[in-house]
Amino acid sequence: MRRRARRRFWHRALTGLAVVYCLFPIYFVLVQSLKTAEEDVFGYPLIVLHPTLENFEELFVPSGQPRGFVGTVLRRSYPFFVWLENTIVVFSGTVVLTLAVALAAAYALGRLRPPGYRWWRRVIFATYVIPQTILFVPLYHVVNALGLDDNLLVLVLVYPTTALPFCVWMLSAYFQHLPREIEEAALIEGAGRATAFFRILLPLSRPVLVAAAIFTLGTIASDFTIASVFLLSDINQTIPAGLGTMEVALDELLAVAGINLMAIPIVLISACFARGYVRGLTAAMVEGA
């Protein structure tokens, strides 16, 4: 009995520690964004006594309108609303494109199994080995040749490659595990391949699709480099690229507010699907056998 109580105590202590470790940085950044300039300098680091949303409001001051001075330095405003729009366009476009392409490839590899399908899958996955370091130099040639310089479409084109290999891997493993009879029953009934796919396989693979979507969102939301290399003019930038151009010394609080404004929606979306994400990962690797 005492051993059990001790175990329970340790479990609780470690769980508490894990929660603090995971949430502290997020909490810290959130608290800073709620501070006034005065409290930012003279207040306590870890708590906010007079929370305010003025930093968030200031983000939406229209571009071109000066926001006052610090000493003799003019504080310029940023087209944050445009960045927000750009980010939504790029992220939703990328997720949809990635899922569509990954589904097609995964169906081919997991169900139709062309000769050497195992190697196709391995080669697609192995593209993760290619060092991203200076890849953007030659990538610029491709982008210029396509006439996409400083265009949001670049990201919709480049981002999928960072998530696609894992999504193909996961979805094709899931499709491969599903017994053949599932589709064959429908095919014998006279339904076409497409019908069988959309009516039977797609609904079945919903948890795995959710997992793939969340993985894609998490992966592309972590990129700062590609966005800031390819999007030059400020009306074409996404939030990460735009925040990177801010004058930190003048606009620290504004930038911190921007960080939260980008992070909160993504965190909420991910949190809503968190359970499905785990279920999908499990299903992809094991289930359906």
């Binding site: 470690l14 929660v19 470790y21 995971c22 949430l23 940085p25 810290f28 930012d40 300098v41 003279f42 207040g43 097609a104 490839a105 081919a108 590899l109 139709l112 199994r113 062309p114 196709w120 996955f125 192995a126 060092p131 370091t133 200076i134 890849l135 030659p138 990538l139 040639h141 491709v142 084109l157 490659t161 696609l164 193909v168 493993a173 491969q176 595990h177 053949r180 998490g218 939301a221 972590s222 990129d223 700062f224 480099t225 290399v229 990460p240 925040l243 930190v248 620290e252 930038a255 992070a263 965190v267 991910s270 949190a271 968190a274 994400y277 785990v278 990962l281 499990t282 690797m285 289930e287």
Partner: protein, 298 residues
């Protein structure tokens, strides 16, 4: 009868290639040309600073890199960085997964907390993280952080704090991803197996090594590979964020610096390609562990 089955199979294969095409075209357009360019550049003295066309230099770029002690130092630090962060992520991630393995009150909340560091977009959290640890102006915490930075830099050399802080950030985020991935793996293990193991194995440690780890093998291998290939991304982000002011002593940012800062595309390409064989070897090894098991077509 046989030829009809053959025709059907041929149609299937044709359809398969058609469906694979978008993925192959996308990966090819974005990765194949740049990769080929990089390989080609690594054999030349390509530089935007030169007026004349690039001269073919053979393996000279590679030879020079391999001969310089600087390269070996950077390679050692890169490998050590990858090994340390991966080991830390695996350890913490496994801890998370084990804590969450069995039901308890508030498990859903703890799970969400563990999930958040990865879900929190790293593109912006790296900005916040970096400015928190090296505050640009006077804030209420900048004295504390400044002292910390000076202490670490004083003990380990300048730039150590920046490197260490990004590494910690990478571990913070990666351990969350691996924890969730391993939890997915544990969920797949039938509970009866655990019950059986409790009866058979003496200690909890024995149970962990002889039951949990082997069953989680594919998930562990996948975690290791993804950690190895993405470990560098955060350093790259900070390099971009500081406009290249901070050159970390790892191969990736040194290649950046050579290419963008010094305009030496040839050596930079060679430098960044030198790690590929190592990664490829790791991948081939790991494929054996996480590839979907062979199943006879029914």
């Amino acid at each position: 009868m046989r030829s009809r089955a053959g025709a059907r199979r041929r149609r299937e294969v044709g359809l398969a290639y058609l469906l694979l095409a978008p993925a192959v075209v996308l990966l090819g357009a974005v990765l194949a040309y740049p990769l080929a360019w990089e390989v080609w550049a690594s054999f030349t003295g390509l530089s935007p600073l030169q007026e004349s066309g690039p001269a073919f230099v053979g393996f000279e770029n590679y030879r020079l890199q391999l001969a310089s002690p600087q390269f070996w130092l950077a390679a050692a630090i890169t490998v050590a960085h990858a090994v340390v962060t991966t080991a830390a992520k695996l350890a913490i991630g496994t801890g998370f997964a084990l804590l969450l393995a069995r039901p308890f009150r508030g498990r859903a909340v703890v799970f969400l907390a563990v999930f958040l560091p990865w879900a929190y977009p790293a593109s912006v959290s790296v900005i916040g993280w970096y400015w928190t640890l090296s505050p640009p102006i006077t804030t209420s915490y900048s004295v504390f952080m400044g002292n910390l930075k000076n202490a670490v830099d004083g003990a380990l050399g300048s730039g150590a704090w920046a490197f260490l802080s990004v590494t910690l950030f990478n571990i913070w985020r990666g351990s969350s991803f691996i924890g969730v991935l391993l939890l997915a793996g544990i969920n797949a293990i039938p509970p009866e197996l655990f019950e059986y193991a409790t009866l058979e194995c003496g200690s909890a440690r024995q149970r962990f090594w002889s039951v949990t780890v082997p069953l989680l093998r594919p998930f562990l291998a996948l975690s290791v590979f993804l950690s190895l290939t993405t470990g560098f991304a955060d350093l790259a982000n900070v390099w971009m964020l500081t406009a290249g002011r901070i050159v970390f002593p790892v191969i990736g940012t040194q290649a950046y610096w050579l290419a963008i800062g010094a305009g030496q595309f040839g050596p930079a390409s060679a430098l960044s390609l030198l790690l590929v064989p190592l990664l490829l070897a790791a991948l081939l090894l790991l494929f054996r562990l996480f590839d979907a098991p062979e199943r006879e077509p029914a």
